[in-house]
Symmetry: C2
Subunit: 223 residues, 2 copies
DNA sequence: ATTGCAATAATGTCAGACAATCTGGTTGAC
DNA sequence: GTCAACCAGATTGTCTGACATTATTGCAAT
């Protein structure tokens, strides 16, 4: 018998649906940074009541995906470069650690999964679909994080990456970024496949630093 | 003129007050781990309406301070040792980094502040007041985190420490833990005062590992 | 152009309601 | 006597509607 199978089916509540929808909307840039979210509008668009919406907004606020100023309401924060830098730095810390641990403990099945996701990114990278690139790249990381053996590390990392989702889309559309990203990711994969802890950390650090540089470039050029 | 002074006064809303009150209540053990929180009870106790309460609960849920199972409502999670371990591991990662950065960049004024908080802990450690010990120790860390130059690091760390607040109270009441904690903290302080990056990291890592061991002991003995 | 003010919009908060779901105890069958 | 089915109360999920307080905007006046 599987020891940790979660039998409890959890019915999806309106609040959960709403949080997911809004989060996705923010990721995909439906709400531009700095734009305000009007409760009454969202209610009618989503077809839900104001209390339900407000609960969802509080969740997103705690995730730092939106800001809520008293008596002004919610808005999508415009991330400054200082904040983004701070996030990238912590992300580096976590991601490097995760890659190192992952190299030591990933299962063969998950390793194949990782390889598959790398292929998916490779395919996306050769296309011009930057949305697909971001998504497949996210899959790649999430497999690494899911196999680092520390769910808290994974969870914190996910929260941070969510907050810079805006940059990820932008920087992927930079000339050549997808290609070099692919090379870096392949390097990470090779290191993990070789069970080489040190190399995985090194490659992972390089990747984050390059991603950060690309994001900075994208921001400065206002792509 | 100060560049980043936040002029905006933010009126404290019912939701904010409620979140703070409930968070404090959880920290101080008013709600035991595993216990359920009944909305109607909380409403009358806090003197607020159900929508306001539910918004506050969603915030706390996103902070992982409470769990909300659909149709069963909110409860204080009973942290397993595996989860606690995961948190301590990430905390180590963040805290070590913060101590190292802090050593390189803390201002003299803040350094004096750090020394003062160490003295406060020293005083608390010689008393039997474990609540005071936890509080003064928290001050010490928060000064380090506030001076590491990365607000995101600080924020994530605060979130993690909040989730293991239960253990901190327990382990501080272990025989001799406060004393040895004081020694470890003094070591960290000395390293930071000496601007010794490496030593600060080393001392900080040792401290977290010892705190983790103490928490494990406290848990196993059910103190 | 700037200031002041009124009208409008939006938020913060509450009260009450109702269906769906969970919980605990009782009843009934074996 | 034990176990399953069931029913009543408790609790949550969600909605509607309301109202005071606080921003925002447009216009008038200086």
């Amino acid at each position: 018998m599987q020891p940790d199978l979660n039998l409890r089916i959890s019915p999806r509540t309106v609040q959960q649906e709403t949080v997911d929808k809004l989060r996705l909307a923010i990721f995909s840039g439906v709400f531009l940074p700095g734009s305000r979210l009007i409760e009454s509008q969202l209610c009618s668009q989503l077809g839900i009541s104001r209390p339900s919406l407000r609960e969802a907004l509080r969740s997103l606020q705690a995730e730092r995906l939106i800001e809520i100023v008293p008596n002004r309401g919610p808005s999508v924060p415009a991330l400054s470069w200082e904040e983004a830098t701070a996030i990238y730095e912590v992300r580096e810390l976590l991601e490097v650690e995760a890659a190192g641990r992952c190299a030591a403990r990933i299962s063969p099945a998950q390793l194949r999964e990782l390889e598959r996701s790398l292929s998916a990114f490779e395919e996306a990278a050769s296309s011009k679909d930057s949305a697909a690139q971001v998504m497949t790249a996210a899959d790649f990381y999430s497999i690494i994080l899911a196999n680092c053996g520390n769910p808290v590390l994974e969870e914190v990392h996910r929260g941070l990456v969510a907050r810079i989702s805006f940059f990820r889309g932008r920087s992927m559309s930079l000339e050549g970024r997808a290609k070099s990203s692919l090379l870096e990711m392949r390097e990470i994969f090779e290191a993990i496949a070789a069970r080489d802890d040190k190399a995985a950390r090194k490659a992972s650090r390089k990747h984050v630093l390059k991603a950060k540089a690309a994001a900075k470039l994208a921001m400065e050029n206002g792509i």
